[in-house]
Symmetry: D3
């Protein structure tokens, strides 16, 4: 496969081993919640209602999302039903959730447990709700998908168009202010910080949003506009504004963004930034950056 | 009228033809909602409560805002009353809402219907609620205006000071994180993306926020500080930081922002960026922008 | 004390004179609320429930935070209890709240009264709730601290890790989108605008977030990454991206950020930017900034 | 007019003098609420939201009923609108409410003020809500009338069929458990205690419920079944079971009920029991009653 | 089978024809709700959320009960789940609900439609919720059964101990104040009016509550105490107090209750009072009853 | 002490041994709740929020009552505060609650545990809330007492005037529909069933409600009117209507009520009916009672 080619694939219907994984992670989550409930009675009611009273991850997640996203005109029971139907019928939604939980746990040193991510990470919750909105969108239930999209944007300040395609193993870290447009595609094992925009070119419809390759890391506040390709394993520095393709395994920084090492011979890194989460090591090579 | 002069005018008390427009748009909204309710029973309750049970756009909008912005200490019935009184007594609020609905429908390819904007666009909803807060402010009901301001900032993450003056035909696209200061002025037919700041110079009171001319387009994450003029039809690139006046029909990009084409002979475009929504075509002219 | 050294100190357990201050400010708040309740009956119920029915600032604040941050799974009575216990037992929390109220009143010309800040400033409210989460964190009640952290991030779009240490006299202005990481430290009398990130370097734990000296001003949308020191009284321009230490009383602007006046001989200001709130006066010295 | 004839008449569309009355009572209510708010800050928020923030009795009552009767599927804003439209458009509803307020104030020694009745008397509130349900019923909006009926029965445990016709100056004292059937008619100035049933004969439709004359008093727990006439000014003792007509100004007591004084020459009283509220003076004449 | 013998049998697991019935009744309910939603837009949201958005009677009923019975500490999603699991897994619960709907429709002339009963009859709703509490009780999930019992008693003022066994085709008419004790048994096709008590003898445990035979009618406010048998097809007059067995097809009236026709040769009726609902025809035979 | 004399005494400010009792009962309640939470995860969240997260009975009870009795205009935090202040400052309220818990546990065979009573018995909860309303009444905080009274009547269908004086060791069994008037007095160790009325004589103020001696048992649906004395240890049969004094240790039954054994030589029982709860043993002596 040519370097930099996008490898987004829809989550497989039956990821081998997915079930075991799910079981293992769910077991961890329950154990963590049980430990926390014992040590902190003031939180036990919350932990029982969100985790410990449920028989599966999909029920816990459906309950939690239903209660987080409901409003006076979209009742929690309706949303709970909607989420539970989706998570129960589509195993790929569950395996993606598990992969995202693992991503947060492995990449974010502030993530102290799986249950911490499940309960408290608005990026994780927004992403799982988005996956259900995306499923509705593909089933041509667009008004419902858009109503759900609106609730996610209100509650989590995370605005992902239901048509956007997102891979697995995604970490939306902090997540507030993330905007992902209608024709955007995000590969697997990508990490995206808060205030990141994957925006469009303008008022014309059609393909107009970025395609993010596998393993990409996008720093806080970065803005990427138009149907540009961010190559596999590339890194986009915080606050960068990117309007042109970025080659695989290179680093683009600044506003306007430039490649570290220069356009002709950009530095190439060997790690997968979306997993290694190295935000700042390019500083020494960023020739301009001398305060 | 000299090019670039600000043409902000308070919405006319009696926009000719306004009523017909309002009737036509409201008819569209009901037809869309009826169609969606039929195709998606799970959403029908939501659509009836927010749109189909109401006899006018002002009632629908007042109900929706009242239920979105209420809290345990500011009840929905109080807010509903407040909004309904404002929208019923001031036709310019209604014609501005209609103009904003049209703006979203025409400029945002992801806006699939008027009802989609009315129900789901936090930028649209925040803007209409702001117009009511602004009316209260002008009526010297400032504590109430500020309480409403606070609810809008909490619920939609859109922070527009109630004293800020905003024209008609405005699109706040995505809207999360928008901040508009007390003495800011925004003309007609302006489009503003998310995370845009129209901020002040510091701790001194008085005139200290930007004046945005008609037809301006401000890209995602742009920061404009101080009582500077952004000339009619100008375009501010995403992520730009602007602290000086920008001439009409020019494009400022970067941090610090520069004029595309250079300070002396900036490129001038003929379209109205606030309406044409062209975010990225300046790239070829942005001499620095070579990844 | 060497210039630029961090002077963060945990709020003293018994700030002398703190009580008088608290009494005075609380008296002001009640007087303001009484005046507003009389002039605006529609708001009187809100003002009585949040302020006028309470016998102390700590009760008012606990009530208000409890009702703002509660959810269907974390009840207002539980949170009210939690806040009231914290504010009652730890006088430093109360004196910090008073210092923050003063900061908003003195530095933000849009802040028309103490009660306006107490009721409506999401930055103020998020900060006080964070102080309680921080107290829980130090008491090793981490799951509860993280649950509270999550509610603050959902409701106010302000994401401060409960372990982060924050001084007194802090103004989080507008506040939406602020992210402060686990090992960040913020000194006294600091002013931080919205969308500011004090972020980490990556996936490794340990000390990895910025240390902000006393009196610093950080402009809207600035991103500071890594365990860098922002020296006492420094100023970070809006939209700046900072990955290296910034000397005391200097100004860093741009992406990548540079020191105004140049690296070798940076301009030094005499005022305390965190208090004087001068966001834009460096423009004339910013040699690059010529639109 | 023959003694004992039923004089139920639909409330007049334009009761002369009604408006002045309404104004006077509303003035009293506001004065009482203001006094209570001053003496009891803990209740002031409640008093402002229910009474003091409103410009008229109809608005206060609509707000209070909307918030009392709402549920997660029948929102307060919808009910508020419904009540406000009814009370605004039909003056007879308002004059009946005023007459009922006067009835409680004059007849119940435990009723310390008009505002006490308006806020706290479930019998008063259920009756006003019933009047609106009755109006809907007469307008052939029966499903809505029945939904409202159901909410009244749930919230107040008062079950009055929307078709039942009820006069003015009614006191439902304590009110819990009152059941009034579809074809029942209640005259003016009637007082009915809790657990009273005006029930039907069985499964056949048509006229099958009691007709209660003007000025009747019905004691706690009395059961009256079938289309029987309770004559003007009659008194029904507590716990009585009545299945036959009761002549005017007589007293029926017991299970089965008998006339005090005997069937042939029943004692006749001169007062109007519905107003004089004398529950027990017949004891001496109740020949059987010797413990 | 000897006349008067109790024939209570647990609802059969698979009532033949039950499914068709359920389908037919559900079809009626949807048709009624659709008609009402069209004629009354203000109610359409309610009708869609409670009926028209659901794919089956069990889902509609579970949703409606979940939202009616929830509280701030027992969330609607939890109750919805509980009800849905019970109704889905136990067909006898569904066929009993259908039989109860039919009973209301056939016996109560004020019951205008099946949907009217499903949505608005607190007796019907309390009875269905009781059946689920009874199922939990039999499954030894007693604390949960008792918590549900408590919610039913609070919300509907209907207090049926979860251990009480209740047949099918039951009409609890008006229902407020009904109390049914722990060891009570109610046969099939029984009609019970409001304020009826099936109470115990005292503080000793064991069998201590009434056994009500098939087809019995119990009038409003009747009190039956102790483990007495009310024979098949008997009728208990309103307000009666019964402490001794009542023979089949006889009528007991009064306090203390006596048999109509006398103890030795009581009148026997041929109809089934629980179905014919004749409350008052015994009057002519009630020798004492001469007002 | 003369037979039949009322022995109502205000609960002592410092009941000796009260504290130990309270500790023991609270320990039992926590143990029961812990056991139930373990056996029934679906209920654990409820049990933790209401009982297990609290450090004392007064906190648990205040939380539970605050959440039960709150409304959209009387917030749970306000009520929680009110209850907690009352229960914390007045030990007699706590010892009365403990005595009532014991009464339910000992006298009601359906009461399976202390926690069952604490959580689920509306009679218990209404009585404790009444005690707080009574305290407010005595403190001349009457509007607040009446607002609380109204909430109790709405939520529990138990209507006890805040001025009514009630002893300790009270069991309100089932409780729905109980009405207790302003000048009523209830002694210690009294048991009162549902639908019991302790009502007044009419519209004149002053002393006009029953005085219930120690150890009295009042059966379901009994109505006692006027300032009559129900002597110590008397028993009032279900459905009785009593308007005259009842001597100590006698039994009054029927409507109109008569003394069992006759007026001249009434049967006297040796047990304390309010504790022995024998509802029906008088049947054999009730000469009239022959069905």
């Amino acid at each position: 496969m040519p370097t930099g080619e996008l490898r987004y694939t829809a989550p497989p219907a039956n990821s081998s081993g997915g079930y075991e994984d799910e079981g293992w992670v769910w077991g961890q989550i329950k154990a963590e919640a049980r430990r926390d409930a014992e040590s902190e009675p003031a939180l036990a009611s919350y932990l029982y209602s969100t985790i410990l009273s449920h028989s599966s991850l999909e029920r816990s997640l459906s309950f939690h999302l239903g209660n987080k996203l409901c409003s006076s005109t979209l009742l929690s029971t309706l949303l709970y039903d909607l989420f539970l139907n989706a998570f129960s019928s589509d195993p790929s939604l569950r395996s993606a959730a598990v992969a995202d939980l693992r991503a947060a746990r492995e990449r974010d040193p502030a993530c102290v447990s799986y249950s911490h991510c499940l309960l408290n990470y608005k990026g994780f919750l927004a992403c799982q709700a988005h996956r259900v909105a995306h499923l509705l969108w593909r089933q041509s239930r667009r008004p419902l998908a858009l109503a759900l999209h609106s609730r996610i944007a209100d509650v989590f300040s995370v605005d992902i168009h239901p048509a956007a395609r997102i891979g697995k193993g995604i970490l939306f870290d902090h997540a507030t202010g993330v905007v992902v447009g209608e024709t955007a595609v995000i590969g697997n094992n990508v990490s995206i910080l808060h205030h990141v925009t994957l925006g469009g070119t303008g008022k014309d419809g059609g393909d107009r949003h970025p395609k993010i390759g596998d393993g990409v890391l996008i720093g806080a506040g970065a803005t990427i506009l138009g149907s540009v390709k961010i190559g596999e394993g590339a890194k986009i520095g915080a606050g960068s504004v990117v309007l042109i393709d970025v080659p695989p395994r290179t680093t683009a920084v600044g506003n306007p963004a430039r490649l570290v090492g220069g356009k002709e011979r950009p530095s190439k890194h060997q790690d997968v930034p979306g997993e290694s989460m190295d935000h700042t090591s390019f500083i020494s090579e960023w020739s301009d950056y001398i305060i």
